[in-house]
């Protein structure tokens, strides 16, 4: 066979999304650190006029890390893992190759426009769904392209059965498609009533209904962006990197169906003690508790995959990243249900404990897993050894310290805040004013921001390590089967 005819996986689209993951990761996390310091030092709000205020930057942080950093990471891993477990190269179909390229460029344009529009203060004011309707249409188009890529590749596969990761990618695609469409049903005000600018809109739902749809979406964004695709990643990358088969494949698919069924009902826990019907609140609480089972099913499955192989933790920092990711998944999927219990929520709601919970999930589980996946892919995509194991170790410990500082400070701050809000004297008068709580919380805000800064510095180390690997890493002749090659 001539060399030109040898079939190879094509990583060109995966590489583009890898660059985007790093770029948007830096931007999104940098903005996160800035707004965290703004809470500790409010005068920082005025460093760039209206463009530097907390309210302007906060949606940029959340959208930047969710739809910039993480979605690129999900797409990068899809264009890598999808081909490999289906045993088909995307280059075998010119159509799918073009779809992949258009998918990337359209994605990039939409995200850059999202960044610009949010900086300008154009927003629907729905949390995690701030983009206005013209951009929503762009998101729908790029999502359809991703769907064509997924089902197109499945259509030409050589492997008959779909590996469990593919199930999770499909669920991500379907779940987000459904949620995004329903929550972004909006009325363009200019075209309907002549009010506002052409790009302005209001939600099609009103009042309590809007809140219910919004949090059905909001919580399932956590499900189908922060959880399901990350589970897809860990089911591929941990077994592959450690050379261990999944502890129980049966448990992986049982957890899959459990997660799919249960997650969609849990969103009501965001609206406890609000105007939504009591039964919706109770249902949200109950399903949140049940959610521990499928979540822990996957997490324990991953930890047990390493049974008898814990020595690898010492040798291979990538395993360390993934095992810690799985551990943080367990922590945050226990913490979330606890917060969803009505009596706990009476204390926790609206306090800093909530962002604390979100960040031990996102920084520990999502961030670590995504970086580990990219570290694993890079030597194989670029045929280079990873640049520095030492740097990776430093990154690991710096970021782990950052995460611990973040969530522990927010636990203390949140519970302090909740207790102060509800404290009353013997006559039933509130003991503290709102400002009393703010001044007590300031030291914890500084601690949190510094934890975030540690994580950001760790991410910059990751970016540098990736850059050096790609530009000047030692070439490898054949693709490593399992453990990723790295220079000391």
């Amino acid at each position: 066979m001539q060399a030109s005819n040898v079939l190879n996986y094509d990583y060109s689209v995966a590489k583009c999304f890898t660059y985007a993951t790093i770029l948007f990761g830096i931007v999104g996390m940098l903005i996160g650190v800035i707004i965290a310091y703004q809470m500790a030092y409010p005068e920082l709000n005025y460093f760039a006029g209206e463009y530097g205020t907390y309210s302007r930057l906060r949606p940029l942080h959340t959208s930047g890390v969710i739809f910039g950093f993480l979605l690129s990471g999900i797409f990068a891993t899809w264009y890598y893992v999808g081909q490999r477990v289906l045993k088909v190269s995307i280059a075998e179909s010119k159509f799918l190759m073009s779809v992949g390229r258009v998918h990337f460029w359209l994605y990039l344009v939409v995200i850059l426009m999202a960044v610009v529009s949010l900086f300008m203060g154009i927003s629907t004011s729905k949390e995690y769904a701030e983009l206005e309707w013209p951009l929503d249409i762009g998101v729908v188009l790029l999502w359809v392209l991703w769907g064509i890529s997924i089902f197109g590749l499945i259509g030409i596969r050589r492997e008959k059965t779909l590996y469990v990761s593919i199930w999770y990618y499909i669920a991500t695609f379907l779940g987000v498609a459904m949620l995004y469409l329903f929550n972004n049903m909006e009325v363009p005000t200019y075209f309907v009533s002549g009010m506002g600018k052409w790009y302005h809109s209001v939600s099609m739902y009103a009042g309590t209904n809007d809140a219910m749809v919004q949090w059905w979406y909001g919580h399932n964004a956590v499900a189908f962006v922060f959880t399901v695709p990350i589970v897809a990643m860990i089911y591929y990358f941990l077994p592959k990197e450690s050379a261990q088969p999944i502890f129980s494949y049966k448990l992986s698919i049982l957890s899959f169906w459990g997660l799919m069924f249960v997650y969609l009902w849990a969103g009501g826990h965001h609206l406890l003690y609000s105007t939504v019907p009591d039964w919706v609140q109770t249902m949200g609480s109950i399903f949140s508790i049940i959610l521990i089972l499928p979540s822990w099913g996957s997490a324990i499955n991953m930890l047990l995959t390493m049974k008898g192989e814990w020595g690898q933790l010492k040798e291979n920092p990538l395993i360390k990243f993934m095992v810690l990711a799985s551990t943080f998944y367990m922590l945050s999927t226990l913490e979330g249900p606890i917060q969803a219990i009505k009596s706990v929520n009476a204390l926790a709601h609206f306090t800093d404990w909530i962002p604390g919970h979100v960040h031990d999930g996102t920084l520990g589980w999502v961030g670590f897993m995504t970086m580990a996946a990219l570290y694993h892919m890079t030597p194989r995509m670029f045929k280079k050894e990873l640049f520095s194991k030492k740097l990776m170790e430093s990154q690991f410990w710096l970021q782990t310290t950052g995460i611990v500082m973040y969530f522990s400070s927010m636990w203390i701050a949140g519970i302090t805040q909740g207790m102060m809000w509800r404290a009353s004297d013997q006559y039933g008068n509130l003991e503290y004013s709102f400002m009393d709580t703010v001044s007590v919380l300031i030291p914890y805000y500084t601690l949190r921001a510094t934890g975030g800064l540690f994580y950001l510095i760790g991410f910059l180390l990751f970016a540098y390590n990736m850059y050096k690997t790609i530009t000047s890493g030692k070439a490898i002749l054949s693709e490593p089967q399992n453990s990723s090659p790295m220079q000391a």
Binding site: K87, I156, T161, K250
Partner: protein
């Protein structure tokens, strides 16, 4: 319908769905183990799809691709 009847119906609904979902869950687990015991499937070998994922590795279960589709590629 008065509030008492609504509450009663809700309680019956709750019990019914709980039992129904538990049955579905355990039936699925039973199905997974039964299929393996009867030799219809070997779920655990599917892990190999990740471990042996080079393009020239032998698929765990080869998909029969129609000749026409293969040619189109």
């Amino acid at each position: 319908m008065n509030m008492e009847s609504i509450r009663e119906l809700q309680a019956y609904g709750y019990i019914f769905f709980t039992i129904f979902l538990v049955i579905i869950l355990y039936s699925y687990i039973y199905h997974l183990y039964k299929s393996e015991k009867d030799g219809k499937r070997n779920y655990e070998k599917y892990s190999d799809m990740a471990l042996h994922d080079n393009i020239d590795d032998v698929p765990v279960e080869k998909r029969e691709i129609p000749l026409s589709a293969e040619k189109e590629k």
